[in-house]
């Protein structure tokens, strides 16, 4: 005997199959080589693995829905710090045509800590037994954080035969404060770089502390503070940035290209000029 609902069930099943086929035909195949910003990690993905930041992460403005960043705080400058700060003409106030920001004009490296805040988008973290590498999408840049128990150098930038040269990304050591918080301390920074986009300076002796905190499988936050008594009366926050896990772990290309920047400035940035009221406004 035929079930009275057999026809209806078969009809509904047929519609579902056709809908699935149509959906499958509407979605082009995904390339494993491409970053798909709309393919976002769903939810928190469960608990964070212990002592593990490894993987590829999407930062602000990556299309991944990372929570909004928290900007730097306004620091308290020493007289020497103020003197250096006043020489800098940040892009926010002076525009590309009037700034003397060495990155905007020439693609010079941001250096730490600015490269962990400014244009921070995609980032991969890779771990070896004695080092952790932070690989930044912007500028195709890598940092080396030693985790073998060594201490930070104290002889960077001096004149002695055994002194170390300052570096754009400085000298970094890292340690796990707890199972989910990795703390990176850095010093020996190249003094010609700006600490922030708004033109705050730093010395070679500045100490930057980054706290990577993984709250779930899909969520990572980074808070940065800088202590530089030469230029600032107290430590201050460089900002807080949030990252989301990228499902296919693939990033795309994003860098500053000097020849393209020179063309941009010639054709656009310099003709557009600077705000005529820039000098009267605070940075």
């Amino acid at each position: 005997m035929r079930h009275p609902y057999t026809g209806a069930i078969a009809g509904v099943a047929g519609v579902l199959v056709l809908a699935a086929l149509a959906a499958a035909q509407g979605d082009p195949p995904r390339s494993p080589w491409k970053y798909y910003p709309m393919d976002r990690a769903v939810g928190d993905g469960g608990p964070a693995p212990k002592r593990d930041l490894s993987g590829t992460w999407a930062g602000p403005s990556s299309g991944a829905g990372a929570p909004r960043s928290k900007a730097e705080e306004q620091p308290s400058l020493t007289p020497l710090g103020k003197q250096l700060y006043d020489r800098n003409k940040p892009i926010g106030k002076f525009s590309p045509g009037g700034t003397n920001d060495p990155h905007t004009r020439y693609c010079d490296p941001f250096g730490v800590p600015q490269n962990m805040v400014q244009e921070i988008r995609g980032m991969t973290i890779a771990t070896l037994p004695n080092r952790t590498f932070v690989l930044l999408q912007y500028m195709d840049l890598w940092r080396e954080v030693w985790t073998d128990g060594r201490t930070l150098p104290t002889n960077v930038g001096g004149r002695g035969r055994d002194t170390l040269d300052p570096k754009y990304n400085g000298y970094s050591v890292g340690r796990w404060e707890d199972d989910y918080t990795f703390v990176v301390d850095t010093t020996g920074l190249a003094p010609q770089t700006w600490a922030t986009k708004s033109g705050y300076p730093h010395s070679v002796e500045a100490k930057v502390q980054e706290r990577f905190h993984r709250t779930s499988k899909h969520d990572l936050s980074l808070t940065i503070t800088m202590d530089d008594p030469k230029f600032y009366t107290r430590p201050f926050s460089i900002g807080e940035t949030h990252f989301r896990w990228i499902p296919n772990q693939q990033l795309d290309d994003f860098t500053c290209i000097p020849s393209e920047v020179q063309q941009y400035l010639k054709e656009m940035g310099d003709p557009a000029g600077s705000d005529p009221d820039a000098a009267r406004r605070p940075n």
Binding site: G92, S95, G98, F254, Y264
Partner: protein, 147 residues
């Protein structure tokens, strides 16, 4: 000076539309006016899909038929891809509408709010692409409900 006069002249003759909106300072864009200028029937002459910002060069005519050559910047390709642009979004010869914040110094340059293509579709800037004007940010998530 010539370029400044061209823009000023075009504005004065009413070919372009000024859209009033509240002023809002934005980093990196202080060189631009706070109101939107609209160029209709603009002919694209070049589209540079390049860093740090993509540039659209275009020609528009003033009321006397004289050609005003303009250049407008938008965001970096990496950021534009996230909101629907591709390197082939516009090509030389395309006739489009350009809405932009022109340079305060009168030079024929500015920052994009959005373009309207011949088929009516729109492509926005990231930083100043909000439809509220006044240098508001474009948030595609707000349009789609996707967060």
């Amino acid at each position: 000076m010539t370029a400044k006069l061209l823009v000023t002249s075009a504005l004065g003759l009413g070919l372009l539309t000024m859209v009033s909106a509240p002023a809002l300072a934005h980093h990196g864009n202080a060189a631009y006016e706070d109101t939107i200028t609209e160029f209709k029937q603009a002919t694209v002459t070049q589209f540079a899909w390049a860093n740090p910002h993509a540039l659209i060069n275009f020609d528009a005519k003033d009321a006397k038929g004289a050609v005003v050559h303009m250049v407008v910047e938008t965001a970096a390709p990496q950021a534009l891809r996230l909101i629907g642009w591709t390197k082939a979004s516009v090509t030389p010869g395309d006739v489009i509408t350009v809405r932009m914040y022109v340079a305060k110094n009168g030079n024929p340059a500015g920052r994009l709010q959005k373009i309207v293509l011949a088929d009516g579709s729109e492509l926005h800037d990231t930083q100043l692409g909000g439809d509220a004007g006044g240098k508001t940010r474009y948030d595609p998530d707000a349009d789609t409900g996707r967060k």
